[in-house]
C-alpha cells in the first residue's frame, strides 16, 4: 500500500499521464501550440480530475459493476459542462482561448482512467490526492510541450516575443511539430527519470 505522499507524487513524475502513461494524447497534441494554452488546458483538466475522483470515490459502493462506466461518464460530463459554463460566465478571456477544447475533457482518457483504476478502489482522501497529482503532472507536461513548441515555432514564450521569430520553423506550432516535440520530450523524460 502506497502512503499518501507517494500517491500525490506518483502522477507528477513516476506515472506522469502524458510522458509515461501516454494517456490524453488528443489534448496533449491539440492544445499545446503555446505554453499558455497548454497550461490552461492542464488546469481545466486538473479541476475536472479532482472533482470526478472525489465524487466517484464517494459513490463507488452504490454503483453496480456492469454500469460503472456509464455512471462515471455521466459524473465526468456533468463536471465538464459545469466548468465550461462557469468559465464562460466568469473568466471569458480564458474561455475564449480554450473554448473549443473544454468539451473534449469528457473524452480525455486520464479522467476515466483514474476513475476506473484509482477512485473506484480507494477512499476519498487518497482519490483527491491522486487527482491532484495526476492533474499537476498533466499540467506541467502540457506546459512544457507548449513552451518548447512556442519557442521553436514562434520564437516566443508565454506570449513574450524573443525577437527570433523570423528564423523559427512554423511547423512546430502545427500538428506534425507537436508529434516531434512530444516524442523527443518523452525520450528525454524517460531517460532522466530512469536514473
Amino acid at each position: 500500500m502506497m502512503n499518501n505522499w507517494k500517491v500525490l507524487w506518483n502522477g507528477i513524475i513516476k506515472q506522469n499521464p502524458a510522458f509515461v502513461l501516454v494517456l490524453g494524447m488528443c489534448p496533449t497534441l491539440g492544445t499545446t501550440t503555446s505554453a499558455e494554452n497548454g497550461f490552461g488546458m492542464g488546469v481545466a483538466t486538473l479541476a475536472v480530475l479532482v472533482l470526478s475522483n472525489v465524487v466517484i470515490s464517494l459513490i463507488k459502493q452504490w454503483i453496480p459493476d456492469k454500469v460503472r462506466i456509464p455512471a462515471f461518464i455521466v459524473v465526468i460530463a456533468s463536471f465538464v459542462t459545469v466548468i465550461e459554463l462557469l468559465m464562460q460566465a466568469y473568466v471569458p478571456s480564458l474561455y475564449k482561448a480554450l473554448g473549443v477544447f473544454i468539451p473534449l475533457i469528457v473524452v480525455n482518457c486520464i479522467i476515466l482512467g483514474r476513475a476506473e483504476a484509482f477512485a473506484s478502489k480507494n477512499n476519498v482522501w487518497r482519490s483527491l490526492l491522486d487527482g491532484l497529482g495526476m492533474g499537476v503532472g498533466f499540467t506541467w507536461a502540457l506546459t512544457l510541450v507548449g513552451a518548447v513548441r512556442e519557442v521553436l515555432g514562434n520564437g516566443a514564450i508565454f506570449g513574450y516575443e524573443l525577437g527570433i521569430k523570423s528564423y523559427m520553423p512554423l511547423v512546430f506550432v502545427m500538428a506534425p511539430g507537436g508529434f516531434f516535440v512530444l516524442g523527443y520530450l518523452m525520450i528525454l523524460f524517460n531517460r532522466l527519470s530512469r536514473k
Binding site: T33, N37, P64, T81, P92, L98, V173
Partner: protein, 181 residues
C-alpha cells in the same frame, strides 16, 4: 457491487437525474452573466472599431472558417475606408487561425485605411490583395469573406437610407454608428 436489473436501473436513473439537476442549476445561474459578458464584448468591440472622429460600423460573418463560423465587426471612416476590425466569434486552430484576433495581424494590416470596394477580396495565393496569416489560409479566406460581407451590408444601408440621424441603427443585422465625439 453485484449487478441486478433493478439496481442498475435505479442507480443510473438517480445519477443522471442528479447530474441533470446540477447542470441545469448551474446553467440557470450562469445564463445572465454569460449574456452580459457577450453583450459587453460586443459593445466594447463596437466602441473600438469606430473612429473617434465619427464613422460607421458593420457586422459580417462567414461560415467557411477552419473551425466553423467567423464573426467580426468592421469600423469604417466616413469615406468607407476601413478603420479597424475586431473578431467577435471564431473557433480557429489555436496559434494559427486565432492570430486573426490579435492586434496588428497581417489580415488587419492589409485592410487598414483601404476601401474593400476597391480591393480584390482574396488572399495573395488566390490572386487577391490581402496577406494571409502564416499557416492559416482557410481561416484567412473566411476572415476576408466576413469583411466583404460587412462591407456589402454597409453599402446596402447606404443605398437604402440617405441620412443617419440616430446614434445606432440596426438594419438587417448590420449596425451603423454615428459617433460625434
Amino acid at each position: 457491487m453485484k449487478s441486478t436489473l433493478k439496481n442498475m436501473v435505479t442507480v443510473l436513473l438517480s445519477i443522471t437525474l442528479l447530474a441533470s439537476l446540477g447542470v441545469g442549476a448551474v446553467n440557470w445561474l450562469t445564463l445572465e452573466p454569460i449574456a452580459r459578458v457577450q453583450a459587453n464584448a460586443e459593445r466594447e468591440a463596437l466602441a473600438r472599431v469606430v473612429p473617434a472622429s465619427g464613422g460607421f460600423a458593420s457586422k459580417g460573418a462567414s461560415d467557411n472558417g477552419y473551425g466553423g463560423r467567423v464573426e467580426l465587426i468592421v469600423g469604417f471612416h466616413p469615406d468607407t475606408t476601413i478603420y479597424h476590425i475586431e473578431v467577435l466569434t471564431q473557433t480557429e486552430t489555436p496559434g494559427l487561425g486565432t492570430v486573426m484576433t490579435e492586434e496588428e495581424n497581417l489580415l488587419l494590416r492589409s485592410f487598414r485605411r483601404r476601401n474593400p470596394g476597391e480591393m480584390k477580396l482574396s488572399v495573395r495565393k488566390d490572386g487577391g490583395d490581402v496577406d494571409a496569416l502564416t499557416g492559416a489560409t482557410v481561416s484567412s479566406r473566411a476572415y476576408i469573406e466576413a469583411v466583404g460581407d460587412a462591407y456589402n451590408r454597409l453599402s446596402k444601408m447606404e443605398g437604402s437610407e440617405e441620412q443617419v440621424e440616430q446614434d445606432i441603427e440596426v438594419h438587417s443585422g448590420a449596425t451603423k454608428t454615428h459617433n460625434d465625439e
